[in-house]
């Protein structure tokens, strides 16, 4: 519409034909512009429906049905909440639910504490600090399976570096009391850098005036941190905690590779439980129910997340 005000003028032989042509051209552009929003968004919507929408609806259906892999896709019969009843009366599921909650809480807490410490350290203005910032990125980016293998070898009872340094011969991953702690430490090792770098970005974006004002008022560095820096950093802390909670809750790779859920189910988190029900015992309806319990918990966190980050621009 704006373009019409700028139609080409000048020494054309057939002005009428030219007008008609440019009108047709404008109509074509207008049509293209009208189609732009649908054309650019429809592929994303289709892909999301194919890989998320349809499978999730299907598994929601399955979780209320009796069904086996050999049945036709929609041939299951409705069994109400029977699958969920089976799930919640399975002691293994209940213990894995509790284990997951404990595991998530403790890993996220420790990642936050260490991450905050590391962020403060990396925020200090000393020469070469950049090299350390860069180095810290590596553990958080490497292939999780490689991280898990790395630690499986480091924790090896006979030839692992950890036992060599400690002078012990501890069977870290074979001891039901130690295995969960060991895989937890590996997860903390891999993800503390993410928290640290996120909080470092937060620290660097803070205004310097409040800190300077506190110094003028005679606050020591702990008081300044506790009463000035930390409150200002809170939005970043909240994001870090929620993101890590959501991602810690789904921990799978390191556990699968390091312990496979054992020994004696000591590291069987919900993700491992769901994976085994799906692909080892092929109890598909139970697995669907267990998947939806996981999804439900994550969705609750997503609501918190969206409320906490309040994206005004979306509305």
């Amino acid at each position: 519409m704006v373009a019409q005000q700028f139609e080409p003028t000048g020494g054309y032989v057939d002005m009428v034909g030219e007008d008609a042509m440019s009108e047709r051209r404008n109509a074509w552009i207008k049509f293209q512009d009208r189609m732009f929003v649908p054309l650019t968004t429809v592929p994303t919507i289709i892909a999301s429906l194919l890989v998320f929408g349809i499978p999730l609806t299907f598994s929601l259906l399955l979780s209320f049905q009796g069904w086996t892999i050999d049945s036709a896709l929609l041939a299951g019969r409705f069994v109400g909440l029977a699958n969920y009843e089976d799930l919640f009366t399975d002691p293994l599921f209940r213990s894995s639910l509790l284990l997951t909650i404990g595991y998530t809480l403790s890993t996220v807490t420790l990642e936050l504490l260490f991450g905050l410490g590391v962020a403060l350290l990396l925020n200090s203005r000393v020469p070469f600090v950049r090299i350390f910032r860069t180095a810290l990125i590596i553990p958080m980016m490497i292939t999780p399976i490689v991280a898990a293998l790395t630690w499986k070898l480091l924790l090896d009872p006979s030839y692992g570096l950890v036992n060599a340094i400690l002078g012990t011969r501890t069977v870290w991953l074979g001891d039901p009391n130690l295995a969960l702690i060991a895989v937890g430490i590996v997860n903390i090792w891999q993800n503390t850098p993410f928290v640290a770098i996120l909080l470092l970005a937060g620290l660097q974006s803070l205004p310097s005036e409040p800190v300077e004002a506190a110094a003028v008022d005679g606050a020591n560095s702990w008081q300044t941190f506790r009463h000035v820096t930390l409150p200002l950093l809170m939005p970043y802390v909240v994001v870090a905690v929620l993101l890590r909670t959501i991602f810690e809750f789904r921990s799978f790779e390191n556990i699968w590779v390091m312990t496979g859920g054992g020994p004696a189910n000591a590291t069987k988190l919900l993700s491992v439980y769901t994976f085994e029900a799906s692909f080892l015992s092929f109890d598909l309806t139970l697995a669907a129910a267990s998947s939806w319990v996981m999804l439900f918990i994550v969705l609750i966190f997503c609501v918190f997340f969206i409320l906490a980050t309040k994206r005004k621009e979306i509305q």
């Binding site: 968004t41 892909a47 293998l149 692909f279």
Partner: protein
């Protein structure tokens, strides 16, 4: 004068403490990986010596062994194919959508953005089963196509959110000038916006590359021995006992991780911003 000296000494102490802290960070977070690289450069006898060997003449025999193994090469090739395809597809689909989300207001936009954010949060293990069943039903199980479809879609939320922040920060005036000159939205997007958004596209591309390259769980279920990717092969080494083939395990691990490190370092400045996009402003 003495106050000045004390101040200087205090500064020196805080320097020493800071560096002590930084070096211990390095020891905790990077040294374990260097140790693994070290193992990959040892002979079998050196690996299984107690106490461990700290100084030795590196050998590349483990790398030669791995690189002449068809298993490793096949899986590495599969990883390359799957990653390249899914990154290309997800950029082609995600970038235009992201631009639209950033620039145009239309009904359902808010819901779509939130849905994409939630998609990124959902645990893959909870989607894997129905995805597997449906891929099997349409005859795509055990193919690389199935993994490509999965990675492409899982990358979309990442790409849309990273790029949306980027597009939103570009000045609107450039496109408006193009519209006045008679350009269509598509033309302005392709000729004016995309070239300006190149740094953002690089970040988005690398983030989705890492997602595909690092994934284990989808490939573990959706591929077979012929189509499996490197992480699946690596995980199979860990099945039960790691045995005595540490040299091969560590060498393959290093080879798989080298591209990850290179690409992570390229986008290191934007990494956390990208991974937490849609959350912190």
């Amino acid at each position: 004068m003495s106050g000045f000296a004390r101040g200087k000494r205090r500064k020196f102490t805080s320097y020493v403490l800071t560096y002590a802290g930084l070096v211990s960070l390095f020891l905790v977070f990077v040294f374990p990986l260097l140790w693994i690289v070290g193992i990959s450069l040892k002979t079998r006898e050196q690996i299984f010596t107690n106490p461990p060997v700290f100084f030795w003449i590196p050998t590349f025999e483990n790398y030669v062994h791995v690189l002449t193994q068809s298993d490793f090469l096949a899986s590495f090739g599969n990883s390359l194919v799957v990653t390249t395809a899914s990154v290309t597809l997800s950029l082609l689909i995600g970038i235009p959508a992201s631009y639209t989300f950033a620039r145009f207001h239309f009904p359902g936009r808010g819901v779509a953005m939130i849905t994409l954010l939630i998609m990124r949060m959902l645990p893959p293990v909870a989607i894997l089963l129905p995805l597997f069943v449906l891929f099997k039903a349409v005859g795509l199980s055990n193919t690389r196509i199935s993994v490509i479809i999965a990675y492409t879609t899982f990358s979309l939320p990442l790409i849309v959110w990273v790029m949306k922040d980027y597009f939103a920060n570009l000045p609107k005036e450039l496109e408006e000038a193009a519209y006045i000159d008679g350009a269509s939205r598509m033309l302005a997007f392709r000729r004016i916006v995309l070239p300006l958004a190149r740094p953002g596209i690089v970040t988005a591309a690398i983030l989705s590359l890492l997602l595909a390259w690092n994934d284990f769980i989808f490939a573990a279920i959706l591929t077979n021995n012929a189509t499996r990717t490197s992480p699946v092969l690596l995980a199979s080494y860990a099945g039960g006992e790691t045995g005595t083939n540490w040299g091969a395990i560590t060498a393959s691990g290093v080879l798989v991780v080298i591209p990850v490190i290179i690409f992570s370092l390229i986008v290191q400045k934007h990494l956390v911003q990208g991974l937490s996009s849609g959350t912190v402003k």
